[in-house]
């Protein structure tokens, strides 16, 4: 009896240590290979990455890409206070004046001739709408390369190994030190791509945290209930014979 109890405790310590060190290892290097905290059945968003990603979106992507399903008030669910979100909104100039919390993210309406007729897609739902999800978007942002000698690009296009057909109208969007992070994370182009990908993942599935939280509780409860139901059924039916 004592033995098995200590066995369980020792087992719990090993598991706890494994989880602690595993997450420490992830925190040390989440970029190579790219790792996202929101993946997997226990996944939840990394609030710091979302805030950094919003900064990248706001200072780069928002110049051409709309996010028509999002309001400035939604920024409160990436950990900003109502005052911070309102301050961000008030810095955005809409035609009717400064934006408020209840305004939709500003639609930049870029000139249709700007990218040779290519229209920058709306980014509200981009991760749900692309096969490959997180890794595809991260690849698209980082996999620009020099044009191979045997390929002639279309006018105003760039060579990108992640994009289907390899010829994309979007210029390479991210450079080192393009933004200055408040939390002093080093803003390499890869870090920016990883952060903005995390932000876009949140934009596509803003309910992921609560979805996984409810899901875990519901599944555990139903497993318990199923065991109880099976035991009850067997007990009741045993009395028939």
């Amino acid at each position: 009896m004592m033995r098995s109890r200590f066995g369980i405790i020792r087992f719990a310590i090993v598991i706890a240590a494994a989880i602690a060190f595993a997450s420490a290892a992830n925190a040390a290097d989440t970029l190579n290979p790219p790792h996202w905290q929101s993946q997997g059945i226990f996944g939840s968003y990394d609030i710091a990455a979302l805030q950094r990603g919003f900064l990248v979106y706001q200072s780069n992507c928002a110049a051409c890409h709309s996010m028509n399903a999002l309001h400035y008030r939604d920024l409160q669910s990436i950990g900003l206070s109502p005052e911070q979100a309102a301050a961000i909104a008030s810095n955005v100039k809409l035609t009717a004046g400064p934006a408020t919390l209840d305004d939709i993210f500003k639609d930049p309406h870029p000139d249709i001739t700007a990218f040779g007729g290519a229209i920058p897609p709306d980014l509200s739902n981009i991760l749900d709408a692309r096969p490959g999800g997180l890794n595809y978007i991260f690849g698209l942002l980082t996999d620009y390369a020099a044009v191979p000698a045997d390929i002639t690009l279309l006018p105003n296009h760039y060579f990108n190994t992640a994009y289907p057909g390899n010829q994309i109208a979007m210029p390479p969007p991210l450079k080192d030190n393009q933004v200055t992070y408040a939390d002093e994370t080093k803003s390499t182009a890869i870090q920016e791509a990883s952060d903005v990908t995390a932000f876009l993942a949140w934009a596509s599935q803003p309910n992921l945290n609560i979805q996984h939280a409810i899901g875990l509780r519901a599944v555990l409860f139903l497993i318990f209930l199923a065991i109880l139901a099976i035991a009850t059924k067997r007990k009741i039916w045993r009395e028939t014979v």
Binding site: D128, A129, R130, A229
Partner: protein, 374 residues
């Protein structure tokens, strides 16, 4: 009047409670029941659940802006994402249960006399569900749904004669701003019609179920209720896993992009439960071929009780059971080939698997059952 005194007050005014109690407590049921026998009840419960979640969705859904209104439900309606996921995953659960029911009846050959009408109603329910499921998928408003609707309405516009008149009445002409409003209406109407089939199925099933042996009969409560409870909890468990951890199970990812003339998906593949039907329709050439394919695909199911040449009381043979298992694999393969990126190989495989499907029903079923009947 004096006999009324012994009855409860409510029963003299609403003669329901005593009958209900008798139904649940009289020991008149078989003392052993397979868990799969609970499938019709699970399907009915899931249908009620779909009607309720569909009602909530319809309050906020706007057929003029399908994609945007669903995004609004997901993001701005309290727990809207959950109701949306319930409705989406409920479809998967219903079709899973219906496919399992069809397979079970085919393996056990319960479709033979006197079970023909039960089988016909099961297949009719399956057909209606396919139609309602397809219309629901069109209502999604994503890029794949958009192009599927465009393809279907264009094809319908090219039909002549009576089929053309029917499809024109159904879709109201080419795909336009009002089309989805009609489809939302039909989606609701036909979904409610399924409940009518459920009622008929219940009556037909009760009429042909053989009375259990006189010895050892049990009452519905607590014996069957305990068993149904297990079935419901396990069903709910699978449902919860899908809702919370795979809410878009079996769907084409590109349907996450808003539908529009500028976004054309390379593969217009429907949700998983429609895939095998789609592929049969692709295997026949031309527009009429596709229509013929779908009708023939479902007609052989209706004809099954008469394609089976064995005597009603003959024991099912092992070879036939093996063939039914092969058929299930064949339908799975048809679906996988339809979901894959189109290529020469997938179209050849579609023809091979479709050929096997019809061979099974039109050649092997009569042949093997007649052989085994000897």
């Amino acid at each position: 009047m004096s006999s009324n005194i012994t009855k409860p007050w409510i029963d003299t005014r609403l003669p329901f409670i005593t009958a209900w109690r008798a139904h649940f407590l009289t020991p008149n049921l078989a003392p052993d029941a397979p868990y799969l026998g609970t499938l019709p009840s699970l399907i009915t419960t899931a249908l009620v659940f779909m009607a309720l979640s569909g009602f909530v969705l319809s309050v906020h859904y706007d057929p003029a802006h399908p994609f945007t209104s669903l995004q609004f439900i997901d993001r701005n309606v309290n727990n809207g994402w959950l109701i949306h996921a319930f409705h989406e995953t409920g479809t998967t659960m219903i079709f899973g249960a219906v496919y399992l029911t069809l397979y079970r009846i085919m393996v056990t050959r319960a479709y033979r006399a006197p079970g023909e009408v039960v089988w016909l109603l099961t297949v009719a329910q399956f057909c209606l569900l396919l139609l309602v499921g397809y219309l629901g998928y069109l209502l999604d408003g994503g890029a794949v749904s958009y192009w599927s609707l465009a393809g279907v309405t264009t094809a319908a516009g090219n039909l002549g004669g009576a089929p053309g008149a029917i499809s024109n009445w159904f879709f109201g002409g080419p795909d336009g701003p009002g089309t989805l409003a009609r489809i939302a209406m039909f989606h609701t109407l036909l979904a409610l019609a399924i409940f009518g089939i459920v009622a008929l199925h219940y009556l037909a099933k009760r009429a042909v179920t053989a009375p259990p042996p006189a010895r050892g009969q049990v009452s519905f409560h607590p014996y069957y209720t305990a068993q149904y409870f297990v079935a419901f909890v396990v069903f709910a468990l699978i449902f919860a896993v899908l809702v919370f951890f795979a809410p878009h199970f079996g769907e084409n990812t590109l349907n996450g992009a808003p539908g529009g003339p500028l976004v054309v998906p390379a593969t217009v593949s429907p949700p998983w439960y429609l895939l095998s039907i789609t592929n049969v329709s692709h295997a026949f050439p031309g527009m009429w071929g596709g229509i013929f394919g779908v009708i023939a695909r479902l007609a052989v199911l209706f004809a099954l009780p008469w394609l089976d040449r064995s005597k009603p009381d003959a024991t099912p043979g092992a070879l036939y059971r093996f063939l039914v298992m092969l058929l299930a694999l064949d339908i799975l393969a048809l679906g996988l080939a339809a979901a894959a990126t189109p290529s020469m190989l997938t179209s050849i495989l579609a023809i091979v698997f479709t050929a096997w499907y019809f061979l099974h029903f039109l050649v092997f079923t009569p042949l093997v059952t007649a052989m085994e009947a000897k």
